[in-house]
Amino acid sequence: MLIQLAATGEGFNPPSAEDFDLPPFIDGVEFATKPILLAFLSVILISVFFIAASRKAAIVPSKLQFAGEGVYNFVREGLARDIIGHEFLKFVPYLFTLFTFILVNNVFGIVPMLQFPTMSRVSFPYVLAAITFFIFHYIGIRKQGIVKYMRDIMFMPGVPKPVYILLTPIEIATYFIVRPLTLSLRLFANMFAGHLLLMVFFLGGEHLLAGVIGLKLVSPFAFLIGIALTFFEFMVQVLQAYIFTLLTALYIAGALADEH
């Protein structure tokens, strides 16, 4: 593509990681950026929606109540109860908040006018993963005591002694480094890559439109693929919100279980 476009005399700058570095919209106020604004917007949207959905709770639900309860039930029955087991009720608020917050912030990536997934700024997933990290370790320590909890992590019962040389470092790395890191990077990288992909097709299609007539004819295909990818992105965004919550529930369940 670069070679063809070079003939038209202007270069195409493919979207890169710098495109995610949005400047603050108020000069001099470092934290007033679009991702922060979107995060606040998502909190307002979620609050308004669920307060409206649960205000006039009736036995025969209205459409709004049905929608709100649908999301709540999905997290409560599908994620919390099935995975955590009989102590699940305590963790439903956290899992539900996590799911809706990530979902709405992800979907911002394809909402017209907003079109920026908040989670493609890595600090947001970091914080969410840190909260999950502290919660599941705290639960594990409170439930089993710090000695037993650490012993179960470091020296998994029922393993021949020499294997511990290999297993102990792996287990420690899994619990304290790999888990929070994968949790946050998975969400971040999915949103980052998805947004980059959409930018490539739409900006590339726009640039093709400015080329010679042959390139103009190609550009609708770029837009068509971009539209198809937008739907694909929507699927990925919902899936990532689900996976983040699912893994959080699994980690909590693991910390609650007596045997790892």
Partner: protein, 67 residues
């Protein structure tokens, strides 16, 4: 023509997770086809495995940009 070889390397490194993801869902579909009522049990496991395999590809992506 300019660019970075990192992205070629990333493309190569994505082959492994791609095969892994395919195998995970193949096993999931097989399982559900043989025993449809096991779907609700298999689904979180399948997505967990998918997420873990996919994480490797995404590490590659992050490293392709960072390095």
């Amino acid at each position: 023509m300019e660019g970075t070889l990192n992205l070629v390397g990333y493309g190569l490194s994505a082959i492994g997770p791609a095969i892994a993801t395919g195998m995970i869902f193949a096993a999931y579909i097989n399982g559900v086809a043989r025993q449809p009522e096991a779907r609700s049990v298999l689904q979180p496991i399948a997505f967990l495995g998918f997420a873990l395999a996919e994480a490797l590809a995404l590490f590659g992506l992050v490293l392709a940009f960072v390095l």
